[in-house]
């Protein structure tokens, strides 16, 4: 009762990174609140799944293992989560802000008439005073998120309704093992008691999901391009530099929207958050929503033909110039000096 739950996502029998990141955050929140950390895993063939979760400090793993649950489907997954939460009454529920969490989260919160905050960038514990109602609240979850296209940051609270629910994007929280030998408990749910036949009315006919080939989140060097790169052809220059220096290519939302790069390369509040040791920003003006996703980079180089680009304010090195001239020079002099 009154614990923290993370609804975990799996991919080919592996707990996804965003879930492990949330368990890491959940562990520290649980320590602060002096409560337990619990996980819910729904799927098929989940023998031993708990072993992936214990090292992150998970005290209890609830498992709904059934062949009908092999792929995520809104209705049966919602039914299981809602029923379990009615029984267990968690105070906090966290989910990844993926297509899974953003489909399931609102459905579950609506069924429980509880509040949900999407895409949080920070979660903290704090108090609240409602002066008008003369009420004091302690140990609430502060759900901190950008709003308004990233121009402001709002702190959202759910004073009265439980659970307090939040989704967080991949890469925003850091994943860290709590204790390799941590021991939790596994409880298997009797799935037939949680779902009805009616929950399976939506049929998955076809599915083509590829495992991600792009790995910008864990790249130590990123060459990222913005709308200012100008074309898909110019983006090839970024790829050439990236290949030369062993980096991954990233992109701003504007560049992705313009079709210069794929969605899986998007960095920022609506994409992935990255913390490489070197971030080379090419033709990126530096909208807040982008900066929020890369400001923790150890070193930032900005290449922009506008010396007044906002990103220059947070850069360590600023090169004012045309990237079609600068990038080939970088490639040339890297090669020359590493021979």
């Amino acid at each position: 009762m009154n614990n923290i739950f993370v609804i975990c996502e799996t991919e080919n029998g592996k707990i996804s990174d965003v879930s492990l990141e949330l368990l890491t955050k959940g562990r520290s929140l649980a320590n602060e609140l002096k409560c337990q950390l619990e996980a819910l895993v729904i799927g098929d063939h989940l023998a031993d799944i708990e072993k992936q979760l214990y090292p992150y400090g998970t005290d209890m793993v609830w498992v709904a293992d059934d062949s009908r649950l092999v792929f995520y489907s809104t209705l049966p997954y919602t039914a299981i989560a809602v029923q379990l939460f009615k029984e267990q009454k968690p105070q906090i529920v966290l989910l990844g802000a993926s297509s899974f969490g953003r489909d399931l989260g609102p459905r579950v919160s609506s069924a429980l008439a509880s509040g949900l905050t999407a895409d949080c960038t920070s979660l903290e514990i704090g108090d609240h005073e409602d002066k008008r109602a003369g009420k004091q609240y302690t140990h609430l979850l502060y759900q901190i998120r950008p709003a308004f296209g990233g121009n402001i940051v709002a702190t959202i609270i759910n004073p009265d309704k439980r659970p307090q629910m939040a989704t967080v994007r991949e890469g925003v929280m850091k994943k860290a093992i709590h204790n390799e030998n941590y021991k939790g408990k596994r409880t298997d749910l009797d799935v037939s008691k949680y779902v009805k036949d009616d929950d399976f009315v939506v049929k998955i006919i076809e599915r083509h999901i590829e495992s991600s080939k792009v790995n910008i989140k864990n790249a130590s060097i990123i060459v990222a391009g913005g709308y200012g790169v100008g074309s898909k052809e110019n983006f090839d220059l970024l790829a050439q530099l990236a290949e030369t220096i062993g980096a991954e290519v990233g992109a701003s939302r504007a560049a992705v929207d313009a079709g210069f790069a794929g969605h899986d390369r998007q960095i920022g509040q609506t994409g992935v958050t990255v913390r490489p040791k070197l971030y080379i920003a090419c033709g990126i003006s530096g909208q807040i929503q982008h900066i929020a996703g890369m400001q923790d980079s150890a070193m930032i180089i900005s290449i922009n033909n506008d010396p007044g680009a906002p990103i220059n304010k947070i850069a360590d090195y600023v090169i004012t110039g045309d990237l079609t001239e600068v990038l080939p020079k970088m490639i040339k002099y890297y090669k020359k000096n590493t021979k």
């Binding site: 809104t74 297509s99 953003r102 489909d103 989260g105 609102p106 459905r107 919160s109 609506s110 509040g115 949900l116 999407a118 895409d119 609240h128 950008p146 709003a147 308004f148 296209g149 121009n151 402001i152 940051v153 709002a154 702190t155 959202i156 609270i157 759910n158 009265d160 009315v201 939506v202 049929k203 998955i204 006919i205 076809e206 599915r207 083509h208 999901i209 590829e210 495992s211 991600s212 899986d264 070197l278 807040i288 900066i291 180089i301 220059n312 304010k313 360590d316 090195y317 600023v318 090169i319 004012t320 045309d322 600068v326 020079k329 970088m330 002099y333 890297y334 020359k336 000096n337 590493t338």
Partner: protein, 291 residues
């Protein structure tokens, strides 16, 4: 095939690309009056999907539903110009300050009043909040199945709709019984432009409030052509529980709003000539940032 009744949920949103200092009120809610208002982009993608169904199945009706202040009627007119058949504006102070849950509840009540709806389309998310919660929550409030992240409708047959979803790393095709809620991605086809005939036809479409405010004498126009009257629904026009509406019905509260301030650094300027770039690359190699 049986003609369908489709509701498209549309939201008028502040254009978040141009946000000024007076965008937020002291209580932390949005000061919409201070911002240019636009048709939420992904709701236009949703409207296009609805219009495609209408193209395919004769007699199908596309009905816009929006909740907001009086000026949100602009969204209804825009939809009518692009091919929708009618639209409803849900507007009342009782709805103000609603979070996604209270919004979804109000919309669900209005959809029940429209009655006998086969499909509910909405954009995946709105650009002012980026939450993607209202579609699924409307579905839950109405106890209907939902299909999110939709890019294409592949088939409608025997009371079922087949849709293609665009997910992070691929696509999924699902078959869902109707009625259901469908949220449409920005990667779906863009909405058709305004139609000249529809523009002429609906140019004077107004809500009752707008008709009263209008200085021109159009009164006879609205009695002669009732389709020009955009129905305006208040809390009294829908069957609802007041406790679930507006600020009261919102479990989430805004505690604090802050502007974002980034720590500025002292940047080193690098010349873009050969010498400048070579020195930089050498330095990065020497301090092991590169290589």
């Amino acid at each position: 095939m049986k003609a369908l009744k489709i509701v498209v949920l549309a939201k008028q949103v502040p254009d978040t690309r141009n946000v000024g200092k007076d965008a937020m009120k002291a209580d932390g809610t949005v000061n919409r009056a201070a911002l240019p208002a636009i048709f939420n982009p992904e709701d236009l993608n949703a409207l296009e999907q609805a219009l495609r169904v209408k193209d395919q199945i004769p007699g199908t009706k596309v009905i816009l539903l929006t909740m907001g202040p009086g000026r949100a009627a602009e969204v209804i007119r825009e939809g009518l110009y692009r091919g929708a058949d009618e639209g409803y504006l849900l507007t009342d102070r009782a709805f103000a300050g609603a979070d996604t849950l209270a919004t979804s509840y109000a919309l669900a009540c209005a959809i029940r009043k429209i009655n006998d709806v086969d499909l509910i389309f909405a954009g995946r998310q709105a650009i002012d909040g980026d939450t993607a919660q209202v579609g699924p929550q409307v579905a839950e409030k109405m106890h209907l199945p939902q299909v999110t992240y939709v890019e294409e409708i592949t088939e409608i047959k025997k009371g079922k709709i087949t849709l293609k979803r665009r997910l992070e790393r691929g696509v999924e095709s699902v078959e869902c019984p109707m009625p259901c809620v469908v949220t449409v991605n920005g990667s779906a086809p863009t909405c058709r432009p305004r139609n000249a005939k529809a523009l002429m036809k609906y140019k004077h479409a107004r809500t009752v409030t707008e008709q009263q405010d209008s200085s021109e004498d159009y009164i006879t126009l609205y009695t002669e052509r009732p389709y020009l009257a955009i129905p305006e629904w208040s809390v009294n026009d829908i069957e609802s529980d007041l406790q679930q509406l507006g600020l009261t019905g919102s479990p989430t509260k805004v505690k604090k709003i802050e502007n974002i301030v980034f720590q500025a650094k002292e940047a080193r300027k690098i010349e873009s000539n050969d010498e400048g770039i070579e020195d930089l690359m050498k330095e990065l190699i020497e301090n092991h940032t590169l290589g």
